[in-house]
């Protein structure tokens, strides 16, 4: 892998000496992280014997370990670099994102984590299909799991290509392609060789690195302002060139007409309801021994993720104050390099050795962040393909455990390969919307079905199937009719959207960029209608699900 990393070098343009210095140091740190994680993965693979080892890490992780791994799985590059960048460029509006991402964990804690741990085995569909006819529900849940994971995966991998080339100071296409290929190859290796155990350890290492890096930056920034938040905010507002508006909501979201305000509500809903429907998050609850450990690990995760988002507030405003919004936007108009640029400034500024070193450290942390998240996504989607679609839908429950694990490994390879190819084609596109779309699908298709399964006695097969497909189709459908695809100028988007996927001039039929406001109610409604229009009752199985989910009896 170190060899492959250096291959990207020659294609890059020749840079100034100090930039070379941080590039070399970045590459050394990347390589070090890769070497450590490969070692951990290979070690973990020696203990991979059963399906429970492969899918659920032998259910042997402690609550703190799982809490860290949940953080590692959840805090993507979009959270770290994206939210810090949003604070740095749009001020307060970054907070709307991070608060949604955090509060969402209460849905997972109160309504989902323990019940899922007690009644499921390896995948989200285990719980959705518990009371239902297996094949239709598992097919629907498997499709939705794979769709959500692929959307999220594409956003991460395309982002990784752009990010690493930015951090290495190379704008060449070959750097982007090589980055995507290397990230893809590593994630396939972690998942196929290490299974859930290897993936979990990669996520734990990443979480520790990310938290440490963020803490150092936060304390450093605060120290520059005598630990006075008010002074920091004032300096950020002054340096942003936007004055007081920088500290208030509205620079980015809900700035124009009634639709853009509704869009903000739509985003908020999808963020808060999406997390508890993300398959790669849900399967993490299976890696601990029992429901009490699942609950405690979510509480650890809430503490870790909450602390992290509080730190991104300081990092983002610190970047605005110390680097300046203009200098950040000049480097990347999305603001994704705000945190690395802040690191350089803290270390002594461009051209200094300290700046080069700290920049390289933060760049390596960002790289680790991406790797841990994509591995989690690949594992979730390949597990669901094997356990739900292969074993249940195709083999009608007659596959052996060994076959299942073998198919899961092949599926990880195939999904990884597909993700690499799609990401290479999509590398020039603005795919940041895919993260919000993944949350919207999770909130519209997965969450209604999950909640009705656990809490509504009358819920049945056709309700589950209708809910999943209804939520999935409506979320994707709204985006296909939105300004993300049709970029014409309108009252909502006075400047139009030049990155629109289909047309830059045609006005979007639905002016919402975030589908949640429409698709979440549609998902719940479809699940309800599907249920009442079918005569099937699953009362006895519901009694079993209730008893098992609340008492833990018969838990795997």
């Amino acid at each position: 892998m170190t060899h492959a990393l250096t291959v990207a070098g020659p294609a890059a343009p020749v840079l100034a000496a100090t930039e070379n210095e941080h590039r070399t140091f970045s590459l050394v740190l990347f390589a070090l992280f890769v070497a450590v994680t490969l070692y951990i993965t290979i070690r973990a693979s020696r203990q991979n014997r059963t399906a429970a080892d492969y899918y659920a890490g032998g259910r042997s992780f402690s609550p703190l370990q799982n809490g860290l791994a949940i953080g590692g799985d959840y805090m993507s590059a979009a959270s770290f670099l994206g939210i810090a960048g949003m604070f740095a460029l749009s001020g307060y509006d970054g907070f709307l994102y991070s608060i949604g991402f955090l509060v969402a964990w209460l849905v997972a804690l109160l309504l989902v984590a323990e019940l899922l741990r007690n009644s499921g085995r390896f995948t989200m569909a285990d719980v959705l299909a518990f009371r239902m006819r297996q094949r239709p529900v598992r097919a629907a849940a498997g499709i939705s799991t794979i769709v959500v994971s692929i959307f999220y995966l594409l956003a991460q991998m395309v982002g990784a290509g752009a990010l690493v080339s930015l951090l290495l100071g190379s704008q060449s296409e070959s750097t982007k392609i090589w980055t995507i290929v290397i990230v893809g190859a590593l994630m396939i290796f972690y998942v196929t060789v290490g299974g859930m155990k290897g993936t979990t350890w990669v996520q734990i290492v990443k979480a520790v690195l990310l938290m440490t890096g963020a803490l150092v930056m936060t304390v450093w920034v605060l120290a520059k302002y005598d630990f006075n938040i008010s002074t920091l905010l004032g300096a950020a507002a002054d340096a942003s060139g936007k004055g007081q508006a920088f500290l208030e909501p509205g620079l980015k979201y809900g700035a124009t007409d009634v639709w853009s305000k509704l869009d903000l509500l739509s985003l908020g809903l999808a963020l808060v309801l999406g997390t508890a429907g993300l398959p790669h998050i849900l399967i993490r609850f299976y890696t601990v021994p029992n429901s009490r450990a699942a609950r405690t690990s979510v509480n650890w995760a809430i503490g870790i993720i909450g602390a992290f988002y509080l730190m991104t507030l300081v990092i983002g405003f610190g970047a605005a104050a110390l680097v300046g919004s203009k200098a950040i936007a000049a480097q990347d108009k999305g603001g994704n390099t705000a945190a690395p640029q802040l690191a350089e400034a803290l270390g002594g500024g461009a051209g200094s050795t300290g700046g080069a070193i700290f920049l390289a450290v933060i760049a390596a942390v960002a790289f680790a962040t991406i790797l841990a998240v994509v591995a989690g996504l690949t594992l979730a989607s390949s597990s669901s393909f094997s356990h739900d679609i292969f074993a249940s839908v195709l083999r009608r429950g007659k596959a052996t455990e060994q076959d299942e694990v073998k198919v899961a490994r092949i599926a990880a390879l195939a999904i990884g390969a597909i993700a690499i190819v799609l990401s290479i084609f999509a590398r020039g596109m603005n795919v940041a919307f895919l993260v919000a779309l993944a949350f919207a699908v999770a909130a519209s298709a997965n969450l209604p079905t999950l909640l009705f399964s656990l809490f509504w006695k009358k819920f049945n097969t056709s309700g589950a199937v209708a809910g999943i497909y209804g939520g999935l189709v409506s979320a994707v459908g709204v985006v296909l009719l939105s300004p993300i695809c049709w970029g014409g100028k309108s009252d909502t988007i006075p400047k139009g959207n030049v990155d629109a996927l289909f047309s830059e001039t045609v006005v979007a039929p639905i002016p919402l960029q975030n589908p949640g406001l429409i698709s979440i109610p549609v998902g719940f409604l479809c699940a309800y209608l599907g249920t009442v229009l079918s005569k099937e009752r699953t009362d006895a199985k519901y009694a079993e699900l209730e008893v098992r989910s609340l008492t833990g009896t018969g838990a795997h």
């Binding site: 014997r49 059963t50 399906a51 429970a52 032998g58 259910r59 042997s60 307060y92 907070f95 608060i99 949604g100 955090l102 509060v103 209460l106 804690l109 109160l110 309504l111 390896f122 285990d126 518990f130 297996q134 938040i229 008010s230 002074t231 905010l233 004032g234 500290l247 208030e248 909501p249 979201y253 809900g254 305000k261 903000l264 509500l265 021994p289 029992n290 009490r292 609950r295 979510v298 509480n299 909450g306 509080l310 249940s392 083999r395 009608r396 429950g397 596959a399 455990e401 009362d539 006895a540 199985k541 009694a543 079993e544 209730e546 008893v547 609340l550 833990g552 009896t553 018969g554 795997h556």
Partner: protein, 149 residues
């Protein structure tokens, strides 16, 4: 319970297992557990969702209010945002305490011995998964039901 002596692998079969679950579901001990659980999580979920949506709605529609200064450069929007963090942490702590003090003892009081050994039976009926149980030697099949609670 009557099937307690049926031995490992649930001689009673899937139907008996399902009937036993219905019996447990209707037992007063289980009803108490379920209502205690729901009494906490449903109102709490409603409360934090309303509290969060209030924050989002104010951010969208009440910008003058959100922009009002509290002290120094710190405005209502920032305080409101930080309170969302505080309330999230608080609810997590409250639920952990409630679960340990109230829900766990109630769950332990539910008599599940009639179904404790029918795991194979209900899994074999295609309930949870097509492949039954984890392979021998996996850590989670070693313990007894009590050990895992």
């Amino acid at each position: 319970m009557t099937t307690e002596s049926s031995g490992p692998a649930g001689g009673g079969g899937a139907a008996t297992g399902a009937d036993n679950y219905v019996l447990i579901d209707q037992s007063p001990e289980f009803q108490r557990l379920r209502s205690s659980f729901r009494r906490f999580v449903f109102p709490m979920t409603a409360a934090f969702l309303v509290w969060y949506l209030l924050y989002v709605v104010l951010s969208a529609y009440a910008r003058d209010f959100m922009g009002a200064k509290v002290v120094g450069e710190i405005n209502v929007a920032l305080v409101f945002g930080l309170l969302q963090f505080a309330s999230t942490f608080l609810i997590a702590v409250l639920y952990e305490r409630y679960a340990r003090r109230r829900l766990e003892p109630l769950a332990a009081a539910v008599d599940t011995s009639s179904v404790a050994l029918t795991k194979d039976a209900h899994a074999g009926a295609g309930a949870v998964s097509p492949v039954d149980g984890d392979a021998p030697g996996a850590p989670d099949t070693d313990g007894t039901q009590e050990g895992r609670r």
